[in-house]
Amino acid sequence: MPDATGPDQIFQRALTNGEIMLPRCDDCGAYHFFPRVLCPHCHGTAISWHPASGKGRVHTTTVVRQKPERGGDYNVCVVELEEGVRMMSRVEGIAPGDIVIDMAVTAFVGGAEGQPAVLFKPAEV
């Protein structure tokens, strides 16, 4: 396979290798997510990639209600990472209704819809 060159490719390739990499702007130093060819804060184009700390907090959350025969209820949330970026995800290892705003969570690479994806579990105290 050729090397990943585009921002989306770099992010997805890292996930495939079990790593969560985040783009950060060399000019203003701010992280952003989703990956793109420019910094949405200062519009600089020098972007470098850094491993995520994996530490985050649930910014907001909902339970998608679904009949058990169709797979049952599941969580959808937006997590704010320590690096200051937010991403949609879900918290696993806890009942969807028990996930609350501001809960500390830890990222891991899991699977969603048959592809590698960033998921979260409750942080160990």
């Binding site: 910014h59 907001t60 959350t61 909902t62 339970v63 998608v64 209600r65 937006v78 949609m88 879900r90």
Partner: protein, 383 residues
């Protein structure tokens, strides 16, 4: 600080079709029936239309499809797609096009058969790439997360959210055009099936068929039509994001900016507005927009709507037709905020007609709280 577009255009016709269930009709059929109704209201014909402002949930070039269907060859077209706010946004572009002489009769039109076609909300857009793997249910999950955050930060309660739906139903019960007119209590809303915590199915808009249309002309000839003209005094837009995960503050929408600029353009303030028509796709919308448009302070929207304060006989008439929650919601509701505001000013509202309305507000929302467009409409007295 009013703008040079203040009062330069007027709505001289409104129409709708296919409310509820439009059996056997396509979305374009409903669109065309709505266009004919609005043109009939204005005493005009399709052949008079030379400006078309349209988007639909079907196709990638819906405005072209609509022009072809209608058998017209418009010399000005705007098919900008910002979701349900598009049709409020067209008030601005239609006013600009009319004022610049780029067209003389502007037709804003929409139609949908989503209820009879599929029975659920139809969306032409794919889920965003970085959200899709988590299977959010669009658009409910996005609004549910906004509601959860509002409850967390301000102590807004599910009871207050429910009261938005109860108020909408109370208005709808007087409106023969409304789809849902049965009784609805706070307990009914709270006890309904939960679809995306904290929202039950009664916190969510209807899924209906329906279409709407508006005919606009320059103000200098607006008094030559059968109905009293309704002038566009100010309209303004602001967009903040596309994906809900990118919304900077889940409790503040860009309606704060669109509203402030629309009020400034019209030279009026929230306390002057006699009828407020908001895009209430979900109960949280009404609370957010009342706050962001300046009818109450941020965080006080829950208390503002509680216990019938926006219902008939309350302190502020909000969504006087029953809104998207109880009147009609065919995929995109924005055009109906303008139609109801215009009819309240003309004095021919289908449900409760408020007394002597000179100033009304229509507010459109698109995407997932993404695009906000506010318009202030006024009677002849406000020029």
């Amino acid at each position: 600080m009013t703008t040079k577009l203040r009062g330069k255009s007027a709505i001289v016709g409104t129409g709708h079709a296919g409310f509820g269930e439009a059996h056997g009709l396509t979305a374009y059929d409903v669109m065309a029936q709505s266009a004919l109704a609005a043109l009939g209201d204005a005493g005009l014909k399709l052949s008079d239309v030379d400006g078309l402002f349209c988007t639909m949930m079907e196709d990638s070039m819906p405005a072209l499809m609509a022009a072809e269907y209608l058998g017209i060859q418009p010399r000005f077209i705007d098919g900008t797609m910002t979701g349900g706010s598009s049709f409020v946004n067209y008030l601005t572009s239609a006013t600009m096009a009319l004022e610049a002489g780029l067209c003389d009769v502007a037709l804003i039109v929409y139609g949908s058969n989503q209820r009879t076609a599929s029975g659920r909300l139809v969306t032409a857009s794919r889920p965003p790439a970085y959200e899709a793997p988590y299977n959010p249910r669009y658009p409910i999950s996005a609004y549910a997360m906004a509601a959860a955050r509002h409850m967390h930060e301000f102590g807004t309660t599910r009871e207050q959210l429910a009261d938005v739906a109860v108020a909408a139903r109370a208005w709808a019960q007087h409106n023969p055009e409304a789809f849902e007119r049965g009784p609805l209590s706070r307990a009914d809303v709270l006890g309904a099936r939960m679809v995306g915590d904290p929202l039950t199915v009664r916190d969510c808009c209807l899924v209906t068929d329906g279409g709407g249309a508006i005919v606009m002309v320059r103000a200098d000839r607006a008094r030559d039509f059968p109905k009293a003209p309704v002038y566009v005094l100010g309209s303004a837009a602001e967009s903040s994001h596309r994906q809900i995960s990118q919304m900077k503050d889940f409790t503040v929408t860009a309606a704060r900016e669109s509203g402030a600029r629309a009020f400034a353009a019209a030279g009026v303030s929230p306390s002057d507005i006699q009828a407020v028509e908001l895009y209430d796709a979900f109960t949280i919308n009404t609370i957010l927009f009342l706050e962001d448009l300046g009818f109450c302070a941020k965080g006080e929207g829950g208390a503002f709507v509680e216990g019938g304060r926006i219902a008939p006989g309350g302190v502020l008439p909000v969504n006087t037709n029953g809104g998207g929650l109880s009147c009609v919601h065919p995929g995109m509701y924005g055009i109906f905020t303008v139609i109801e505001a215009a009819r309240q000013i003309r004095g021919d509202a289908p449900g409760i007609q408020l007394r002597d309305v000179d100033l009304a507000l229509a507010h459109g929302n698109g995407g997932v709280l993404s695009s906000q467009v506010t318009a202030i409409l006024g009677s002849q007295n406000t020029l």
